[in-house]
């Protein structure tokens, strides 16, 4: 049990990364539209985020400093500023979408319009960040987010033909009525959501909040190697559930309410209630992550005192940035923008900016001045280089694909 609580930071981070509001809808949308032909992207995404997150937590446990801090120090203020600007803007958009996502989950539970919930959700997020201790926060939302396992239970209950599912997953080509550019667009969206930059910033900053030391390297790696695959598994189960129920029914997924329908079919009202708790916890957890990540990134760049372990009176600028970020996110979503669309765009834009985050991490993880004998192994470097090429290709083709496919239509 103690070990389970020790990895809740990784679980919370992964749930934010893999099953936030955009991913919930994107996983169901791709499952309903393309079957399991895009399941391989989940695997590629999980391996990629594990690879770079392991480097990031290794850097943090050995140096006691978060990755963003070291990136700025190692690459200089100008490169750090480019990284900060890109990641902060994407994080702000994602926060806005998450606030909307929490409101949508509450709308499904109460049928009160989500826009009425948005200001309340914004206030709640700020109060939790202000008042609740970091460890308590990560445990509560990390573990509650596991309620989304209900999708895996629903898949099992639906009694699928596992052989047919495996055959679909092993045949990575678009269905006959879909085009390659649209299929690749969604592949990039899924990959971008798995590799969202704020995940590593939050995970390593959270590690500093928890006081990780070199002796905690094992537990920090467990956070990565259990948390992210678990997040990927949850997203995959949503994709499979949609492929089993929504695709054959001719439903194209655009709304959170459609995502829950396979659970209703398989498990009834109780299943839906658990799924709604999971939606709430996952999106609320992601809202906390993104709001904190905004404060972490700016605080670390400017060298302010930061973190929840510091009393707010001693980290006033950090908390002010968080408050301003939450207010801005709330204002964005109150303009009536669709939260699902906002996340879809933020995921795709973050895919375009991925090398800005992961190249510096690779550079720092190879610097013996910081890590001594704990620098990357040759195998890690080979794998990371392959992924960097992939990230560069993804960042180059993302925007053109978005235009050509009219955002996947």
């Amino acid at each position: 049990m103690k070990k389970l609580f020790g990895i809740t930071l990784g679980i919370l981070t992964a749930i934010g990364g893999f099953v936030d509001i955009g991913d919930l809808v994107a996983a169901a949308l791709t499952g309903a539209r393309f079957g399991l032909s895009l399941a391989w992207v989940m695997v590629v995404g999980v391996v990629g985020i594990c690879l770079f997150a392991e480097m990031a937590v290794r850097v943090t446990t050995i140096t006691g400093r978060p990755v963003f801090d070291l990136v700025r120090e190692r690459l200089g203020a100008r490169a750090g500023l480019a990284n900060l600007t890109a990641s902060y803007l994407v994080t702000l958009l994602t926060l806005a979408a998450e606030l909307g996502g929490v409101a949508l989950a509450l709308e499904l539970a109460t049928s009160v319009n989500h826009l009425l919930w948005v200001p309340i959700v914004g206030l709640l997020v700020w109060v939790v960040i202000w008042r609740v201790k970091f460890e308590r926060m990560e445990k509560a939302y990390g573990l509650l987010g596991l309620a989304l396992i209900v999708f895996a239970v629903a898949v099992w209950q639906l009694g699928p033909d596992w052989g047919a599912l495996l055959a679909q997953a092993a045949n990575p080509v678009p269905p006959p009525d879909e085009s390659w550019p649209v299929w690749f667009y969604y592949a990039i969206a899924l990959f971008g959501s798995a590799m969202t930059p704020y995940e590593v910033f939050f995970l390593t900053s959270g590690g500093v909040e928890e006081g990780w030391r070199p002796s905690d390297l094992r537990i920090s790696r467990l956070n990565v190697f259990i948390g992210f695959p678990l997040g990927g598994l949850l997203a995959l189960s949503i994709m499979v559930a949609a492929a089993l129920v929504l695709g054959p029914a001719g439903v194209q997924v655009d709304h959170l309410g459609q995502v829950v329908l396979p659970v209703a079919v398989a498990l009834g009202k109780l299943g839906v209630a658990v799924a709604l708790i999971g939606f709430f916890a996952a999106t609320f957890g992601a809202a906390l992550e993104t709001a904190l990540s905004g404060g972490y990134a700016i605080g670390q760049y400017f060298g302010w005192r930061w973190g929840k372990r510091v009393a707010p009176v001693h980290a006033a600028r950090f908390h002010l940035v968080i408050l301003a970020t939450v207010l801005a996110g709330t204002a964005i979503i109150l303009t009536t923008l669709d939260p699902v669309k906002v996340t879809e765009y933020s995921i795709v834009l973050s895919a375009a900016a991925l090398p800005l985050t992961y190249l510096p991490i690779l550079v720092v993880a190879n610097d013996a001045e910081y890590l001594g004998r704990r620098v990357n192994s040759p195998l890690t470097n080979v794998l990371a280089s392959v992924y960097l090429v992939l990230l560069l290709v993804v960042s180059a083709v993302t925007i053109p694909l978005m235009i050509v496919t009219r955002a996947g239509q």
């Binding site: 499904l108 539970a109 049928s111 001719g250 709304h255 309410g257 459609q258 329908l261 079919v265 839906v272």
Partner: protein, 160 residues
């Protein structure tokens, strides 16, 4: 005097550029309001895509109503799902109506417009029945949605 003439010429040139710009803006605005004029094939493809999108809303409504009849979905979630499906159908209907049909496509346009009207109205009926807790009306709407789905599939096949 000469300076005054030059200023006048400059002002006239400026005004004519403003007028031309305003004309272009008005044209663009009209184009945006009515949607682009399409070839027959492009219009047919657009009609097929519209049918697919509304079919998704109709199937969503039908599935949600079926789960409600079986007591497997809470009322609050049902209302939201049906409301979203109705909004999707209605906005797709508006977008299609804004397209300028090329000559020779009036029959197709009429058929699809009727289907879209029926879909929006039936989803509206379903949403109202769900909010009132009227099981009989919801069951009737579900049966209508099923029939509409079949007609939309048929249209989609012919147009696609």
């Amino acid at each position: 005097m000469a300076g005054g003439t030059r200023r006048g010429a400059v002002r006239d040139g400026f005004l004519s550029r403003v007028a031309a710009g305003a004309g272009c803006a008005a044209l663009l605005l009209c184009a945006a309001c009515t949607g682009p004029s399409l070839t027959r094939d492009a219009y047919r493809a657009q009609a097929a895509q519209t049918a697919t999108m509304v079919l998704s809303a109709v199937r969503t409504g039908e599935l949600a109503a079926a789960e409600s009849a079986a007591g497997r979905i809470p009322g609050s979630s049902l209302e939201v799902v049906l409301g979203d499906a109705e909004t999707d159908a209605s906005s797709t209907q508006e977008t299609f109506a804004s397209r300028q049909p090329p000559e020779g496509t009036d029959g197709m346009r009429e058929e699809l417009t009727t289907l879209l009207d029926d879909a929006t109205a039936t989803l509206e009926d379903a949403r109202i029945a769900a909010r009132r807790g009227d099981r009989a009306a919801l069951a009737a709407a579900r049966a209508d949605l099923h029939r509409l789905g079949t007609r939309l599939e048929d249209f989609e096949e012919r147009a696609g």
